[in-house]
Amino acid sequence: MLKMIGEMAIGAVVLLGACIGAISAFGLIRLPDIYLRSHAATKSATVGVLLILAAAFLYFLLYLDHVSVKLLLGIVFVFLTAPVAGHLTGRAAYRSGVSLWKGSVRDDLKQEDSSAQGPL
């Protein structure tokens, strides 16, 4: 019985994670420019995958008596690299000249660039 509830809980967490992933994918489709899409992609997916991996870790720990170092390592790795990936994508977009969505209200980086352009 207890096992069943536990499994249910794990299943639910997994489903939640999957849903968050799906939403982030939805954001990826819906949002208007790469910078906004980046938000959806990086963050929501991270949360989703963390939930799922954590659930998996728990599942193996509880039901297969298996402490999966690989899974832990995986969680750490995803957690560590996800923000960097977002950062790199955004910067690459900006550096390669992808313009901001027309609804954007401010661009400090542009001023910085143009001010730095001359003396360099």
Binding site: M4, E7, M8, I10, G11, A12, V14, L15, G17, A18, C19, G21, A22, S24, A25, F26, L28, I29, I34, R37, S38, A41, T42, A45, T46, G48, V49, I52, L53, A55, A56, Y59, F60, Y63, L64, H66, S68, K70, L71, L73, G74, F77, V78, T81, A82, V84, A85, L88, T89, G90, R91, A92, A93, R95, S96, V98
Partner: protein, 97 residues
């Protein structure tokens, strides 16, 4: 019961991947595609984790980390490439610490 939940999650994840595929193919800019790829990688990795639970095996757990690593390196490489035209530069510019 749990396996039903897991299967449902798989379906949701698969749908999410399809969505990303749309962005991947549609673009319009290269960074869009990179973001889409990155997300696909992460979703795929989640999918493998779910499959592991479903099959009650630890055999595929390595794949999770592998996908994570590849996604990261792939993203890094691609962004480098569109930013600078090369992936591996010769060395640090002096003024770049």
């Amino acid at each position: 019961m749990m396996s039903n939940l897991l299967l449902l999650s798989l379906a949701v994840l698969a749908a999410a991947i399809l969505g990303c595929l749309y962005r991947l193919l549609k673009g319009p800019t290269v960074p869009d595609r990179i973001a889409a790829l990155d997300t696909i990688g992460v979703l795929l990795l989640s999918m493998i984790a779910v499959l592991c639970m479903l099959f009650r095996t630890t055999a595929y757990l390595d794949i999770i980390l592998v996908i994570g690593i590849l996604t990261f390196i792939g993203t890094t490489a691609l962004t480098r490439y569109i930013e600078r035209g090369v992936i591996i530069e010769d060395g640090d510019a002096e003024d770049d610490r």
